[in-house]
């Protein structure tokens, strides 16, 4: 048995939490992957073909490619935040598996970190699907696109932690209605996914700076259509800061729920 050090986030505990998630995923990978990939692809095709008839290009980018790069971010958002919300509430309130895990030498911060890392990694990989579809519609592969999964993972970790925070704030699934309508939908719409924000009012553009999804969209587009190193570092910094804040909130509220 490896040594245990109290008060620290330990790698063996993170690996154990991550492996638990992986073990569960092995049972459900078909349904979860289907939902996570097909939904953004359908959205991409619907918007691409639908609005594509009305809007041929945006800033010189064919509309379906514009949406295709934006849909990467929405795939990451939905995959990470919804899985985290519903799974964490199920494990805490109904299955009580967190109680079982906390009886082992694992602390709340290790559970939140391990699960966020798993869900973030998975979301990052799922986020590539819309990009692959966009290739079929003429998006040209660029070397910088190898960074897209990395961007997806960083974004996904933040949104997974955010989802765990939401889960720790509600007592039933019904409570998610406020979060989905009041937080996730605005995040999804005001991120520059389906329309460019630079043509929106200044106040909306300023508000978008606070939206982590916007920074993800910008980074993915820059990978596809040309990097802007200075701006991209700011976007990456914003995503990292978001992940840290969301993680801290998730640990704080989850601990309050689980440790009486």
């Amino acid at each position: 048995m490896s040594s245990v050090r109290p008060g620290r986030i330990e790698v063996p505990a993170l690996v154990a939490v991550w492996i638990r998630e992986w073990t569960v995923f092995r049972y459900y990978w078909r349904t979860r992957t289907f939902a996570a990939i097909v939904e953004p692809v359908i959205t991409l095709l619907a918007f691409g073909f639908g609005f594509g008839k009305l809007v041929s290009s945006i800033d010189g980018i064919p509309y379906i490619q514009f949406v295709g790069t934006g849909a990467v971010a929405t795939a990451v958002l939905f995959s990470a935040v919804f899985s985290a919300m519903f799974d964490a509430l199920y494990k805490r309130r109904y299955q009580r598996v967190y109680d079982a895990m906390l009886a082992a030498p694992v602390d709340v911060d290790e559970i939140v970190t391990g699960e966020s890392l798993f869900l973030g990694t998975r979301a990052g990989l799922y986020g590539v699907a819309p990009l692959l579809v966009a290739f079929m519609f003429g998006l040209k592969p660029e070397p910088a696109m190898v960074l897209v999964p990395v961007i997806g993972v960083v974004t996904g970790i933040g949104f997974a932690a955010l989802g765990m925070w939401f889960a720790a704030m509600v007592s039933t699934y019904d409570g998610f209605s406020y979060v989905i309508s009041g937080v996730i939908t605005p995040l999804f719409l005001v991120a520059g996914t389906f329309f460019p924000l630079n043509r929106m009012p200044q106040w909306l553009q300023s508000l978008a700076q606070l939206n982590p999804l916007y920074h993800c969209v910008e980074l993915v587009r820059h990978c596809a259509f040309g990097l802007d190193p200075a701006a991209d570092l700011v976007h990456l910094g914003a995503l990292c800061a978001f992940a840290v804040v969301a993680w801290w909130l998730a640990v704080w509220r989850t601990r309050a729920r689980l440790i009486l």
Binding site: P6, R20, T23, R96, V106
Partner: protein, 293 residues
């Protein structure tokens, strides 16, 4: 394990109220009490899942909650309510917890096999936990708690809701654990369970220990060696009870009878009735009250 002056409040309710408890190493220790006595909260305090508002808690030399992680690495816990990953396969459940309990890769497969054998679930290792019967799920919970061969095992109402046959099996398992050198702290409200399994028993009521000792010591100290059950109508029993109270005779309700405790020392002062040996149940009801909320 020792708990000294432990208080745990939930709002205005004092779930644990000045608890004093010392569990010696290598014994099976029964924590006996009615529902709401504070047994499960005490268990949660011992695993660091509830923080005491007052008092001190030491487990295996580790002060809680600061060193709870170190203590948890050496403890196994079987909760009252199932918290299994029921969608996983039986073997997967054990492998996941082997990792969580830091069982190293060289020993992990053997630890899982040993736990499966202990629970008698080798033939179901590939099945999902949700397909197991209630008794099998309970055995899997215990096997999960023992995957890392802990020095201390906490069993919170281990046999609640199980068939008598399954209960007997689990009793054998618990005795085997104690005989193997583990310290077992078992909360229960089944008196027979405590009487049969526990080397020592603490009776809890309203968040504190009201009596402690071996079952034989507790029986002798609080009920004497013999008791007398007097049967009658409700009105007759009520009258007998009030007369006994006035005469200072210790009694307790026992269904359709009134039980006179310490009958061996009260010859000539008791009404006619059925004389029998005193039991831990006589002590339990006498100390925790005839009725529970």
């Amino acid at each position: 394990m020792s708990l000294h002056g432990v208080v745990k409040r939930f709002g205005d309710v004092r779930a644990v109220d000045g608890l004093e408890l010392r569990v010696p190493a290598g014994v099976c220790y029964g924590l006996l009490g009615p529902n709401g006595a504070g047994k499960s909260t005490t268990m949660r305090i011992l695993t660091g899942q509830a923080l005491a508002d007052e008092g001190s808690v030491v487990v295996l030399g580790h002060r809680l909650p600061a060193e709870s992680k170190l203590a948890r690495a050496r403890m196994g816990v079987c909760p009252q309510d199932s918290n299994l990953d029921v969608d996983l396969g039986v073997r997967d459940v054990l492998e996941v917890f082997a990792r969580l309990y830091r069982v190293g890769p060289p020993e992990r497969a053997a630890a899982v096999d040993r736990a499966l054998a202990l629970a008698g679930l080798e033939h179901r290792s590939g099945d999902r936990a949700v397909t197991l019967s209630g008794g099998m799920q309970r055995r899997l919970l215990i096997a999960r708690a023992l995957i890392h061969q802990p020095e201390v095992v906490l069993l919170d109402e281990p046999t609640v809701g199980l068939d008598p046959q399954i209960r007997q099996e689990l009793w054998s398992l618990i005795v085997g654990l104690r005989d193997g050198g583990a310290t077992v702290l078992m909360s229960t409200h089944y008196i027979e369970e405590a009487e049969r399994l526990a080397d020592r028993v603490a009776i809890m009521s309203a968040g504190r220990v009201v009596a402690e000792g071996t079952p034989a010591e507790l029986i002798l100290a609080h009920a004497g060696s013999e008791v007398v059950d007097v049967h009658g109508s409700a009105a007759q029993l009520a009258e007998l009870r009030s007369r006994a109270d006035a005469d200072g005779l210790p009694t307790r309700h026992s269904g359709p009878a009134l039980t006179y405790l310490r009958a061996d020392s009260l010859d000539g002062r008791l009404p006619a009735g059925l004389r029998r040996s005193a039991t831990l149940e006589d002590v339990f009801v006498r100390l925790t009250g005839d009725y529970v909320e």
